[in-house]
Symmetry: C2
């Protein structure tokens, strides 16, 4: 259906039918408009965005691809930007503010609503990847003594400021969080009941400096839609909504897979080729050096290979299976860490398990390889050498594939160091050293 809309919009552009264009772009759900702009041919993207009215533009801009949003923010007229930011919730406004250059930011913060400006400045202080970086200041917070009807009146006065209310927060005179009221409870409560009587006192709240990955775990664990954010003194600062958490979960999942293969997070399908090259080259350079290290291990046995050249023919078998086993283990462990399944209590068990799996798989695959080597080369000793090398290889795969990510996590090092490049380097070295070493002893 969206495909038809896109084609129609392209046709309008080609025939320069401005009025229909403006009408069409503004009638759609902002999420649909954003998707259409993302998929339009490059020459129409900016024009299509410029046709949106302020309200729609302020919604759409967040869903545009990063590079397009950057381009828009660089070229947008300042009065339009100011109006757009005035329309946004504080968390969204802060995200945009963070992407502006210093001068533009200063300028915008002067022109927008004073209260909004203050909130954005506060939110900009927090680490982007922390609860503070995710939270919005728009909340309905009431005093514990407030009566049901007073609360409803208060909501009536503020509901245009706060989207998706769903919960109201109950605080004391010092703004300390006391409880939470689901709106449906308020709906059913008697007029004279006070907030303190209706509220749920078993509060789950998020400290403002909590890492976003931990915040996502809280939402995952407690199956909730909205969580309040508090400071160290339990004062209510804002709230985090689950739609932002879905973005966090997507980003963290991308990041985990990306790190495993040495990619940077900003390297996406629609990143420009040169930018992708720049991002991938350092990693490939590192890979060149790990490969040369493996090479130098093979080099030790150059004389053996000279005399038994079929060893070189079998090298890809040794390398391939070790690398694959190692990456499998790495993936299971990394994903377990990401989903919070791997904890202090079961880490050792998990490592032991991966080593066991590696050895058993090594014995099984090694036996088949031994049989094949015997059948095709008629050499049982060669088969034994190959099998032993593969057992070593997969043992190392289980060991380093599980140990390295766990160590990185524990020491809070960059988990990229547990990437497939490093794991493969180690399985390659172990595999080639045992394969060529044993061959030198047994076959020469």
């Amino acid at each position: 259906m969206l495909k038809i809309a896109i084609e129609q919009i392209i046709e309008y552009f080609e025939n320069n039918r401005q009025e229909e264009l403006r009408d069409k772009m503004n009638k759609l759900h902002p999420a649909d408009s954003a998707q259409i702009i993302n998929e339009l041919p490059s020459e129409y993207k900016l024009a299509a965005f410029s046709l949106l009215n302020t309200e729609n533009a302020s919604d759409v801009i967040h869903d545009l691809h990063d590079e397009l949003r950057e381009e828009i923010l660089e070229t947008i007229q300042q009065p339009r930007l100011v109006k757009m930011i005035d329309e946004m919730d504080s968390d969204e406004a802060t995200d945009i503010a963070a992407e502006l250059d210093e001068e533009q930011l200063k300028d915008v913060l002067e022109k927008i609503d004073k209260e909004d400006s203050k909130e954005i400045k506060q939110l900009l202080e927090y680490d982007e990847d922390s609860a503070g970086g995710l939270m919005q200041k728009e909340i309905i917070a009431v005093n514990a003594e407030m009566k049901r009807d007073e609360m409803i009146e208060y909501i009536r006065q503020n509901h245009e400021e706060v989207e998706n209310i769903h919960y109201i927060f109950v605080v004391d005179d010092k703004n300390k969080l006391l409880g939470i009221i689901e709106i449906s409870r308020l709906l059913l409560a008697k007029p004279q009941r006070e907030a303190r009587d209706i509220m749920n006192k078993n509060i789950i709240s998020v400290p403002v400096d909590m890492d976003q990955e931990q915040v996502a775990h809280m939402f995952r664990k407690y199956d909730t839609y909205i969580l309040p954010v508090v400071d160290k003194a339990n004062q209510l600062l804002g709230r985090i909504t689950v739609d932002d958490i879905i973005d966090v979960i997507d980003d963290e999942a991308s990041e985990d897979v990306y790190k495993m293969v040495g990619l940077e997070n900003e390297d996406r399908v629609f990143t420009s080729p040169l930018s992708s090259v720049r991002k991938r080259l350092p990693w490939l350079t590192l890979n060149l050096f790990t490969a040369l290290l493996v090479s130098s291990v093979v080099g030790i046995f150059e004389n053996t290979i000279k005399q038994l050249s079929f060893l070189a023919v079998l090298m890809p078998v040794v390398a391939g299976l070790g690398g694959n086993s190692g990456t499998q283990t790495l993936t299971v462990i990394t994903r377990g860490i990401a989903l919070g399944e791997l904890t202090l209590h079961n880490t050792f068990k998990a490592i032991l398990k991966e080593i066991t799996v590696g050895i058993i798989n090594g014995v099984m695959i090694g036996s088949v390889a031994m049989l094949l080597a015997y059948l095709f080369r008629g050499n049982i000793l060669l088969g034994v050498v190959l099998a032993v090398a593969m057992i070593c290889n997969m043992f190392i795969a289980g060991l380093v594939g599980s140990l390295i990510p766990v160590i990185m996590k524990t020491l809070k090092f960059d988990p990229a160091l547990a990437s497939s490049v490093i794991i493969t380097m180690l399985t390659d070295i172990g595999g080639f050293a045992s394969f060529l070493g044993l061959a030198t002893i047994l076959l020469m």
Copy 2:
């Protein structure tokens, strides 16, 4: 904090303090109880679960690790199971029902509340991975003519059945979905207003047969907490809540990474070693054959290697970098497909980009490799051979790393065929053939 609770519970178990145990386990938030049981030593897990009262047990069981939940369902007393299922929402009850064996299921469906039993039977009909498999039947649906105060009265009568109401759905006499009302709107509406006047008519709804990955995209795109599920005639069937979508997103992300390295979804940190071996062996066997295929390509040049054994020493460099480039491209494209960034309109551009990136990276890394080959081996021709092989290699990496997942996606084939094993096989074959082939021509 949870760590202290776990230690205390172990201590209670060791000293057989049943009363404190029961008290402690039931006082915690069910999500915390579940996490504690998951982390307790094996010998206490079942006992800890058995101490939970029905209500807590019915919440906790969903958050237990798969193998533990299976064990509980096999050993649980039928009356307790019936009481637990009676406590659950229809979607959760259905998830548990799907895990029971036939006889157990029949038995339970006879004993639980008749209405619940009917709902569970209906929900069991839907594909587990579809919107129907995710939805719950507990909703507040009202007729378009209902007045505000009547709606509130209706909610009052039904609010114990429906958790997290947040939205009420407006239907006509034929149960066709007409609109949605956010509870806060209902709260602020005048007593005599009818549902049709307050409701939002721009409904975003989910067809009951939509794949869960698509459903997750809907939540992602429209930033919503709850979506109604409808059949082909737009009749309201149930609703999906965002907490279930987070589980879907986690599962799909795991699945994508897992498929790339040939892992099955059920192969987790806490899966038993033998079960993991069984799951990984078929893949490693396939890998053995792809590696032998690569071997046979190298075998063609055995004579060349015999005479120029240093070629074997450099083979890991050719293989390593091609494999890594291919996996990087594969990851970017697979993740792009998963997040819905890759669409019909930009696929060709994306493939072209990955090929460009591959060639440029090949030229850069190839040049460095050429230089190193010249410096260490004093042989400029060898350097040229190595460089050309790496350019071929990374060109193939860009081509197959992007093309294969896109083709798999388009033809709705199993994306596992686009795994790193296949990509690496192709880059290995291309790399070794060009490296050893060129060497045979230029260096012999």
